[in-house]
């Protein structure tokens, strides 16, 4: 069974004929070649595949591609500006040691973005809560939390 779906992906209108059993992760990675979204478990347990769908962070491995129809989807590939400037969250993860092996980083950054888009003044507890579904084995989260905190300051500075 196939279905035609249309959605907004990182600002671009996309139409795609998909098989009904595909997950959004499969569509992005295997069909569209957007390898930035990672598969760490395929089971919704690690958050490496986090993307933003209509402003909410979701595990794209559990999200059926058909559900994406009509939605606004953001992936890690859409975060940096077209001139290559990193999004403040990306820059902050780079500057503060929030990235080691990097496999969790796209998901971690997308989960952080979903939070800060909604709640720019998120407290540390709110950040921890928002990232609780994103596993990192390298950093012990210390520098990840520092990265989000620093990005918060940069983001609020940018708005003024």
């Amino acid at each position: 069974m196939t279905t035609n779906i249309s959605f907004l992906l990182n600002g671009d209108e996309i139409s795609y004929e998909i098989k009904d059993h595909w997950t959004l992760l499969h569509l992005l990675r295997e069909e569209m070649g957007l390898i930035g979204t990672k598969e760490g478990c395929g089971n919704g347990e690690c958050g490496a595949c986090t993307v933003i769908v209509d402003k909410l962070a979701v595990n794209s491995c559990l999200y059926l591609a058909v559900e994406a129809h009509g939605k606004i989807i953001e992936t890690i590939e859409g975060l940096a500006s077209t001139d290559g400037t990193l999004h403040p969250l990306q820059q902050s993860f780079v500057d503060n040691g929030g990235i080691q092996c990097g496999f969790c980083s796209p998901g971690m950054i997308m989960a952080s973005k979903a939070l800060l888009d909604e709640n720019p003044d998120a407290t540390e507890d709110e950040v921890k809560h928002a990232l609780a579904g994103n596993i990192c084995r390298c950093t012990g989260y210390v520098q990840i939390l520092e990265s989000v905190e620093a990005a918060k300051e940069n983001l609020s500075g940018r708005d003024q």
């Binding site: 390898i35 979204t37 690690c46 780079v94 496999f103 796209p106 990840i144």
Partner: protein, 762 residues
């Protein structure tokens, strides 16, 4: 002196963000998961249905008939001499008998992963289930079921036994003696990027393997041996490592998925990729070595250690990998953590029908340190002195030589203790249920001569534009060797970090290195890069002296410029000088190679020898709150003080310590591969309890600098130490908080409650 050094440096010692971090932050880094080759097939492995069984019959006809399936292999198709592991008891596909649930019995290559998976379901195997043995102490009994039938007993023939001084005499003369039994269980690396490999042959049967291995050069050797076993002699093997999604020791050996991918690719004449899913990552990669430790330690009336006597039993599982060699590293804390004259150690590795172990951050050190540092506190209590006091009395010092022959060139343990004392100072009366615990560590910080060579090669070339390419044998799996290499080379050549490019991914262009293990990369690969940079520097200065009317000794390289010391106007940009050298008649280009092999020694028959060129030290302190109603342990404060020599990059160094400490806290409190009769019951992140961001602990990581003469810019290794003393520090804190000593990891609320109950009933 140290601060003066620091000020002199422009790049070394700076918090330069990880070189590849932007690429990773943008989702552009390519891992094994992301690589697709033209015409690539997908391989899948079928695992045993039993912990211990005979394979009576395998019928692959239905699987072979499935459209899209290219080949199905069983143990019968594996050449006799194709065997993995240093003990050579592990063919990539098993025949005759299976000895654990993770034994690979068949493999498929198909045009899609889905078809390959379907084909596995169609393979019919008839087994005769055998009685299994799952407790290593039972497996040592005379009438125990034999796991490996070519072996007369379940105890492996390995030499892990030493006795220095006279332990029995020292015990008699001791004022205080403590003894106990400590146990540690299986924990696993949980790399976010799962394991995988792609194998392909060219038209001349030369092999290329893409693999996220930590041992590019040794993997090349293993794969060459597989080719030989397949009848392919004098062939080339190229190993390419994509970006690695975490290592922690998990990829220090070659695995069935790599060797089977090679077999499948050869038989199909197509590239074949085998990529683990998360369940396989839990079930079919190797864990940290579980241990049973019987320890006895004694001291005199003042708390000075008199002897240490340790007997260990290691559950080897059904096959053998590096887990069985972890006693060689356990010996280090056993003989050398604190000053000691009389020490005895005996470790037995025992076959069972459980999973088998491998290297994991610390390589046996966390298990040994758990027993040693828990009993140090028990001794302190007997003597009636403070836990910090007994450690200060016995602390190692620069210039010491331990009974095993380890030469301690630099030791900052005293500074680490000072830092703990300051950071964990108690104010006011002791709160109920709150306690503080400390534990120290020693680890190799100057390479470790486990293999015949502990070396690393580097090739360095400069181009016409003042840029440098460094081809290193070392590996970066996220820990940051890239940065260390960049910073060392940039400093030495007076360039900026952005001028240096590091290539560490391909045996066709990178020299030999023994692998990313033993916290050795900064020290060994760093020294190799430094050696190559020095050779190039010499050439630049010599050439520059012709143009600047000064001797090479008077010239300085800094800010991309060569200039005369004390007369900076007499200068030339380095790139201009490079072009002059290149484009003059009889031109030359600046390049060099360097192979650095540290001055350390293989352990002798008596296990004596200076294994590492330097040793690294640290002490952790933790404050916990124990809920006596639920048994739950909450970590309130954590201090991880490390003597690292000099920090080449404090930002990355702190990252290693934080990551190590949280991994250690998981080891102490939550992590456990639950195994029932050989079967892993929690192969997912819901039931294997890692710390999450919600559990994140604020860690203070004071860097206590000494200067290690043999290290590059004074540095020692620090990759593993962060997770070594965590578990005993937590156990000691729990004892301080509520008076129960937990000797079995992880320290779950159930164990704490049971111990509290037992204490009340006493």
């Amino acid at each position: 002196m140290m601060n003066e050094l620091k000020e002199k440096y422009s790049v070394v010692g700076k918090r330069i963000p990880k070189i590849d971090a932007a690429q990773k932050a943008m989702g552009r880094a390519e891992y094994i998961q992301d690589i697709k080759l033209t015409g690539m097939l997908y391989g899948k492995l079928l695992y045993s249905k039993y912990a211990h069984a005979r394979i009576l019959k395998i019928d692959t006809s239905k699987a072979k008939a499935l459209p899209g399936v290219r080949i199905v292999l069983t143990g019968e198709d594996v050449p006799e001499k194709m065997v993995m592991g240093f003990y050579k008891d592990n063919p990539p596909l098993k025949k005759g008998k299976v000895t654990s649930f993770r034994d690979e019995v068949a493999a498929v290559a198909a045009v899609t992963p889905e078809i390959a998976k379907k084909a596995l379901d169609l393979i019919e195997i008839e087994y005769e289930e055998l009685e299994g043995v799952f407790d290593p102490e039972k497996a040592m009994e005379k009438d125990a079921v034999l796991v490996n039938e070519t072996h007369k007993s379940n105890v492996l023939k390995l030499p892990w036994k030493l006795h220095y001084g006279d332990v029995e005499k020292a015990e008699k003369e001791s004022a205080f003696v403590v003894e106990d039994r400590f146990t540690t269980t299986w924990v696993t690396h949980c790399c976010l990027g799962t394991s995988g490999a792609i194998a392909l042959f060219d038209a001349n049967d030369n092999l290329t393997v893409y693999s996220n291995t930590q041992i590019r050069s040794l993997a090349q050797k293993d794969f060459l041996e597989s080719l030989k076993a397949m009848g392919l002699k004098n062939k080339r093997v190229r190993v390419i490592t994509p970006i690695i999604g975490g290592g922690f020791g998990s990829k220090l050996d070659t695995y069935a998925y790599e060797h089977v991918a090679i077999l499948l690719a050869y038989k199909c004449h197509k590239p074949v990729k085998i990529l683990f899913d998360r369940v396989e990552e839990f079930k079919a990669t190797s864990t940290r070595q579980p241990t049973i430790t019987y320890i006895k330690q004694g001291c005199d009336k003042n708390g000075k250690l008199t002897f240490r006597d340790i007997r260990m039993i290691l559950d080897n599982g059904g096959r053998t990998s590096w887990g069985a060699t972890t006693p060689s590293v356990m010996m280090m804390p056993i003989t050398t953590l604190y000053r000691l004259d009389n020490v005895r150690f005996d470790a037995k590795c025992v076959y069972t029908n459980n999973t088998y172990s491998q290297a994991m951050r610390g390589y046996g050190n966390p298990q040994a340190t758990f027993a040693i540092e828990s009993t140090m506190d028990m001794l302190a209590e007997k003597v009636g002195i403070d836990p910090l006091e007994i450690r200060r009395i016995n602390q190692n010092k620069s210039g010491d030589e331990s009974p095993q022959g380890f030469k301690i060139t630099s030791c900052g343990l005293d500074k680490c203790f000072d830092a703990l004392e300051k950071e964990l100072a108690q104010e006011g009366p002791k709160e109920k249920g709150v306690g503080v615990g400390i534990a120290s560590l020693i680890h190799v910080g100057g390479g470790a001569r486990i293999y015949k060579s502990d070396g690393c090669g580097v090739i360095l070339k400069m181009d016409d534009f003042g840029k440098v390419d460094v081809f290193t044998g070392g590996s970066d799996m996220g820990q940051g060797l890239d940065n260390i290499t960049v910073q060392i080379v940039a400093e030495e050549l007076g360039l900026l970090a952005e001028d240096i490019n590091v290539v560490h991914s391909d045996t066709d262009v990178c020299p030999w290195d023994v692998g990313a293990h033993a916290s050795r990369s900064t020290f060994v690969a760093g020294n190799a890069a430094l050696g190559a940079a020095r050779k190039v520097k010499e050439k630049i200065l010599e050439f520059g002296s012709k143009f600047l009317d000064a001797s090479p000794e008077e010239l300085v390289l800094k800010n991309r410029t060569v200039f005369v010391s004390g007369n900076p106007e007499k200068s030339m940009p380095i790139d201009k000088l490079l072009r002059k050298a290149h484009f003059s008649p009889g031109g030359t280009m600046f390049m060099a190679d360097h192979f650095y092999d540290p001055e350390n020694e293989n352990l002798g028959k008596d296990f004596k020898g200076n294994m590492s060129a330097a040793y690294t030290f640290g002490a952790h302190g933790v404050k916990v709150k124990v809920d006596e109603e639920t048994g739950k342990v909450q970590v309130l404060e954590y201090v991880a003080a490390h003597d690292v020599g000099q920090a080449i990059n404090p930002l990355l160094l702190e990252g290693q310590v934080y990551g190590g400490a949280i991994m250690g806290l998981g080891y102490a409190l939550t992590e456990e591969v639950i195994v029932k009769k050989g079967e892993i019951m929690n192969a997912n992140f819901r039931d294997y309890k890692l710390f999450t961001a919600k559990d994140a602990v604020k860690i203070k990581a004071p860097i206590l600098e000494t200067y290690e003469k043999a290290g590059p810019f004074g540095a020692k290794g620090v990759g593993e130490p962060g997770c070594v003393p965590t578990a005993p520090a937590v156990a000691n804190a729990i004892y301080d908080a509520v008076g129960v000593r937990i000797t079995d990891l992880p320290i779950t609320p159930e164990k704490v409650l049971a111990a509290l109950k037992a204490k009340k009933e006493k």
